[in-house]
């Protein structure tokens, strides 16, 4: 890319400096990984694979299984994606294609404001506003009408997997929205006009344009949101109910990996206990890597050569 003809000492120095910084990032990641492995060795030796298949978490008897946390992180995050993607992409399409000028700015401004709210504020709002509303106007009626479906079984408390999923969805919508808007904005005006001039309706125009151009970008936005949801700690722990059990019903409390680390790390005294908590961190780290790799693979398969744009 860079022409090497005019290269002088300053250029070389600049190149080496940036290379050093890049290596620092790489080194930090490797160091973090090595440290996580080293600190979780006692737990890995003691529990082996059963660590991720056992669902008992008992600090008193020092029996540690991380399955409930793994399950809770995955379910709450995918629930969030399920809600946030239609909401984020839908509103991005509306803002870019339909909204009158006077409405565009306030909507996108407010959406970006949502991204700037600290997660503990989301958590408090979750406890005091979202959970009571969900409990009284959604969970109770649904439980009465559809309580026989396993997903909605059991008594309704309020704090639950569902509450965590909905709160996470609200937190990641701004990310999906703003990335989707940027992706939509990259579509050449000529193409849109071409579809319209061929007699296409607006819906057809959007469908064709998105199908052709934007799916990889929107997928990238989704992964960005998923990444945030997987690691979100404070807001989740405040509304998920913090119950280390694997329960199918979305109305029942659950727990997440980030939440249990935040909750129990400060007061964990035993070596094995501490090591088990670090191993949860390791599992979370690996999970994030796997999700990112899988996303890139899927992206490559969908549109060859487009992964760079989407990963942006």
């Amino acid at each position: 890319m860079m022409s090497r003809t005019g290269e002088n000492r300053k250029d070389l120095l600049f190149e080496k400096t940036t290379a050093f910084f890049a290596l620092c990032v790489l080194g930090l990641t490797l160091l973090l990984f090595a440290l996580l492995i080293r600190e979780s060795l006692p737990a890995i030796r003691k529990f082996g694979v059963s660590f991720v298949t056992n669902s008992t978490w008992d600090p008193v008897l020092e029996e540690f299984g991380a399955l409930p946390f793994l399950y809770g992180t995955l379910v709450s995050s995918f629930l969030a994606i399920l809600i946030a993607v239609p909401l984020g992409v839908g509103s991005a399409i509306f803002i870019n294609e339909f909204a009158p000028g006077w409405l565009k700015t306030p909507i996108s401004f407010l959406a970006e404001l949502l991204a700037a709210i600290p997660s503990v504020i989301y958590g408090l709002w979750g406890i005091f506003v979202l959970v009571p509303i969900l409990r009284d106007y959604f969970m109770k009626p649904v439980s009465r009408a559809l309580g026989w479906i396993p997903l909605f079984q059991g008594p309704v408390y309020g704090p639950s997997m569902l509450a965590a999923g909905v709160l996470l969805a609200i937190m990641i919508v701004p990310f999906i929205l703003s990335v989707s808007r940027e992706v939509l904005a990259t579509v050449p005006q000529v193409q849109k006009e071409a579809v319209l001039s061929l007699g296409g309706t607006r819906w057809e125009m959007i469908r064709i344009v998105i199908g052709q151009h934007c799916i990889p970008g929107i997928f990238g936005a989704t992964i960005l949101g998923l990444g945030r949801a997987l690691g979100e700690t404070m807001a989740v722990t405040m509304v998920i109910g913090n119950r280390p059990d694997v329960l199918l019903s979305l109305f029942q409390p659950g727990y997440s990996m980030a939440a249990v680390i935040a909750n129990e790390f400060t007061e964990a005294t035993g070596d094995l206990y501490l090591s088990a908590l670090v191993e949860i961190g390791l599992v979370l780290f690996l999970l994030t890597i796997v999700v990112n790799f899988a996303a890139k693979r899927i992206l490559k398969r969908m549109v060859p050569g487009s992964s760079k744009r989407a990963a942006r």
């Binding site: 008992t56 978490w57 008992d58 600090p59 008193v60 008897l61 408090l124 406890i127 005091f128 959970v131 009571p132 008594p155 408390y157 309020g158 704090p159 722990t237 405040m238 109910g241 913090n242 119950r243 280390p244 409390p253 727990y255 939440a259 935040a262 909750n263 129990e264 790390f265 400060t266 007061e267 964990a268 005294t269």
Partner: protein
């Protein structure tokens, strides 16, 4: 440039004058570092502030990172003192480089709070009923085990929603210690600890998390620190103590429990105050401790630490009640005074 020089020189002058006139500062201020429990942090920070004001030359740096962290740091020797809400176990003490002293500084109580429309504060609960509620065996508010002791209260057949702390905490340790003391089934099924495997219920993060869920959920019951419950005017239950009387949590009933336990206080103060004797003593409370090594490595710091601890046991205790911590009762303070004399530097007492 010239403008900026003036104030700088003046400050420098003041500094020189300060250091020059104050012999204690001549060698630079002494900073004593500590780490540990979060529960007594408001009290400790008040103590450090007041003590540094009246004893210039000694500063404190305390990190409220949790009891577990406090024990780890004092074990590693990275701090001069630790602080914990649960006494160190034999296993933990075996890892220490030398003998450690537990200095009790305040008493905390754990209140059982609930959210029952139409039922005011002071719901009466027996130890059995409380244990069975937390074991998930009593699930309705109108269960005879609750109703029979509360004839006046309008208890509906609503579900009991149980709320516990999700984060590891001394509060949970005191509460589960109480349940394990009064219920054999709790002891064998769940046990005692800063985090336990709860048979039922929801977890809330911190006192504020538990209080938030209890407030927002009709039919909820949970446990939180007395200070937090008092400040937020939550409905607290009266628990039946071992003498058979129902006692509401308060500073007085907490101190009463400590006074009841004072007679049998072991020499190392590693004692639990739950289910303490005394007609008016509240059964769910516990001590919080500062941890100091008997053999100090630094003479000046050791001296400062000992004189601070002596101050904390007398002048400092007067600040407990306004901050909603129960003070250590007189007979126990005398015992602590004797213990402080053991602190030494190379075999020489520091007090």
């Amino acid at each position: 440039m010239k403008k900026r020089f003036g104030p700088g020189l003046a400050l420098f002058g003041i500094a020189v004058w300060f250091v020059g006139t104050n012999p204690a500062w001549a060698a630079g201020p002494l900073t004593v570092t500590g780490a540990g429990a979060t529960f007594p942090y408001p009290l400790y920070s008040k103590w450090f502030y007041e003590y540094s004001n009246s004893h210039p030359g000694v500063n404190f740096n305390y990190q409220s990172i949790g009891s577990g962290g406090g024990i780890r740091q004092i074990t590693a020797g990275t701090v001069d003192f630790g602080a914990t809400d649960a006494p160190m176990t034999e296993e933990e003490m075996a890892k220490l480089p030398g003998p450690i002293l537990h200095i009790p500084t305040a008493i905390g109580a754990v209140a059982v709070v609930y959210n029952l429309g139409g039922v005011g504060p002071g719901l009466r609960l027996t130890p059995d009923a409380l244990a069975e509620i937390f074991l998930g065996k009593i699930t309705k508010w109108n269960d005879p085990k609750i109703a029979s002791h509360n004839p006046g209260a309008k208890l509906a057949g609503s579900d009991i929603v149980l709320v516990h702390r999700s984060d590891g905490s001394g509060t949970t340790d005191i509460f589960t210690n109480y349940l394990a003391t009064v219920s054999g089934e709790w002891k064998s099924k769940v046990g005692r600890g800063k985090s336990v495997r709860w048979p039922v219920g929801l977890g809330g993060k911190g006192n504020e998390g538990v209080a938030g869920v209890v407030r927002q959920t009709p039919g909820a019951i949970g446990y939180i620190e007395l200070a937090y419950a008092t400040q937020n005017r939550m409905a607290m239950a009266a628990l039946r103590n071992r003498e058979g009387s129902f006692v509401l949590p308060s500073l007085e009933s907490t101190s009463e429990a400590a006074a009841g336990a004072a007679k049998t206080m072991p020499a190392d103060f590693r004692v639990s105050l739950v289910d303490a004797p005394g007609k008016d003593s509240y059964p769910v409370c516990g001590l919080t401790w500062l941890l100091v090594y008997r053999d100090q490595r630094d003479e000046a710091k050791g001296k400062a630490l000992v004189s601070f601890l002596a101050w904390a046991m007398h002048d400092g205790q007067k600040m407990n009640a306004p901050l909603l911590y129960a003070p250590i009762p007189g007979p126990v303070v005398e015992k602590v005074d004797n213990t402080l004399k053991q602190i030494q530097y190379k075999g020489k007492s520091l007090s």
